[in-house]
């Protein structure tokens, strides 16, 4: 019973949403809109659940005096300050200060790190070991040069070839891949609807 009820609910709601998506049935539309609104509320509460889980984990680390627990203290303090200032008002000066001067630069700095890691990975791993690897390297080099202003100065045709690569071979490969993934998603969805896949319940019965 503990597993049968959620499996039935998942299947029933899934079928309702599929039928509602394709057919204009006013009663089903109102039910599905209501369910979607519930999902929005549950997602918002799940954020709170995550914050509670995070706080629980780090308070435990502090009380057990684990190494580097000072970072956990810092986390709890910033969590509380950000939550309190954000709840007070979305345009609260403290909240905006944290967003504009801490979150945004830190996030941008981490995003920029990707460039360095791409460079070291390219240096370490991009070897012309096979014909496919050579094609990969050549296409990648042409696209990199085509998308940067300097490429056009080196040779005017780089942007033209780049556009051709994006509009033909890349498009074909992407389309094939996306069709495969889409069919895979439908397969997983059907298995969930039929109760065969129960990973959302936390493992097999």
């Amino acid at each position: 019973m503990r597993r049968e009820v959620p499996v039935f609910l998942a299947g029933a709601v899934g079928v309702l949403m599929i039928i509602e998506y394709f057919f204009n049935v006013p009663l089903m539309r109102s039910w599905s809109t209501e369910i979607q609104n519930w999902a929005v509320i549950i997602s918002a509460f799940a954020l709170g659940l995550g914050a509670v889980g995070l706080a629980r984990n780090h308070v435990a680390r502090i009380s057990q005096k684990k190494p580097d627990s000072i970072n956990s203290v810092l986390l709890i303090v910033t969590l509380v300050v950000t939550i309190v200032s954000g709840i007070a008002s979305r345009t609260n000066p403290t909240f905006l200060f944290i967003f504009n001067n801490v979150i945004t630069p830190l996030g941008s700095a981490f995003y920029a790190m990707v460039a360095f890691f791409v460079a070291s990975s390219a240096y370490r791993a991009f070897r012309a070991r096979s014909l496919e690897a050579v094609m990969f390297l050549v296409a990648g080099t042409i696209v990199m040069l085509g998308r940067a202003p300097v490429g056009e100065i080196i040779w005017k045709q780089f942007p033209v070839i780049t556009e051709w690569i994006m509009k033909y071979p890349n498009l074909a490969g992407m389309r094939g891949f996306q069709i495969g993934v889409a069919v895979g998603v439908i397969g997983v969805g059907l298995r969930v609807l039929l109760g065969i896949d129960r990973s959302y319940l936390g493992g097999e019965a």
Partner: protein, 275 residues
């Protein structure tokens, strides 16, 4: 021979320092490399330029602060274009940080004389991903009863007659993660024009939808942001960063060449010694 093999064993910290120095240099001393405009940007610009004064556009600010460098220049340039054409904007965010980014942008335009509630409105953040989008498109006032500033959305003139997404003339989304088919799927019954602004790596993914006509336009990365700034005759931070992008791309190509020279030299050496 040893020198050639050493090319393949450079400490990655040396590579990082080289990158920092060479990327900073054009930001301090710009090279002024010309930026041509691609067909992607021309197509998107043309579609947006076709909007009339008073038209309503829904903009989804679907990116966090971390993605601002790649996507925000596009958003800002397009917002600038829309404001100059007196097109009205309904801003919404399905990513939490997107709400604050949208608020900052809207307030900057309020400071320039545009009116909140008439020229634009900010509906805030709606949690729930695509489920929230589905609820939003079919009944906007029900999904978002109050705006970001806490007032009932029905009290603002811009929301008059806007019940579903299909009541708007265009939808735009700017994102670092949202799949293009998400908005296409949710708005398919209205066949409304959708323009996407994505990070550079997501460009190839959006191309099939652009080719099939399901996307009316696609802007890819900071490069398209720079191109849009040029087309709008308002060069900004994206144009300024293009020189650094050029140097960065060249540097990575040089690293790849070094690595491959060392690889082939090593392979030759092994062949000669019979291994």
């Amino acid at each position: 021979m040893d020198t050639i093999l050493k090319l393949g064993r450079i400490d990655r910290r040396v590579l990082y320092i080289l990158m920092v120095v060479l990327l900073l240099w054009p930001l301090i001393k710009p090279l002024g490399l010309p930026v041509s405009v691609s067909s992607w940007t021309r197509q998107a610009y043309g579609k947006i330029d076709g909007l009339k004064a008073g038209d309503r556009v829904i903009i989804d600010f679907n990116y966090p602060a971390a993605g601002m460098a790649d996507v925000h220049p596009q958003t800002a340039a397009i917002f600038n274009h829309l404001m100059k054409k007196n097109v009205r904007v309904v801003a919404i965010a399905f990513v939490d940080q997107g709400a604050t980014i949208a608020d900052n942008l809207i307030r900057s335009w309020e400071a320039q004389g545009k009116k909140y509630g008439e020229d634009f409105i900010h509906l805030g953040y709606l949690a729930g991903g695509e489920t929230a989008m589905a609820a939003f498109v079919r009944d906007i006032p029900k999904a978002v009863p109050t705006d970001y500033r806490g007032k009932p959305v029905s009290s603002w003139p811009i929301m008059e007659g806007l019940k579903t997404a299909g009541d708007a003339q265009m939808l735009m989304y700017f994102t670092t993660s949202l799949l293009p088919e998400t908005w296409i799927r949710q708005t398919s019954q209205w066949k409304m024009p959708i323009i996407g602004g994505v990070i550079t790596v997501m460009g190839p993914q959006g191309e099939p939808f652009l080719q099939s006509g399901q996307l009316a336009g696609l802007l890819v990365g900071m490069r398209c942001g720079a191109e849009y700034e040029i087309m709008s005759k308002a060069p900004g931070p994206a144009v300024a960063a293009m020189d650094a992008q050029s140097i960065g791309h060249l540097l990575i190509i040089v690293f790849i060449i070094f690595g491959n020279i060392a690889y082939f030299a090593e392979r030759q050496g092994r062949k000669r010694s019979g291994l």
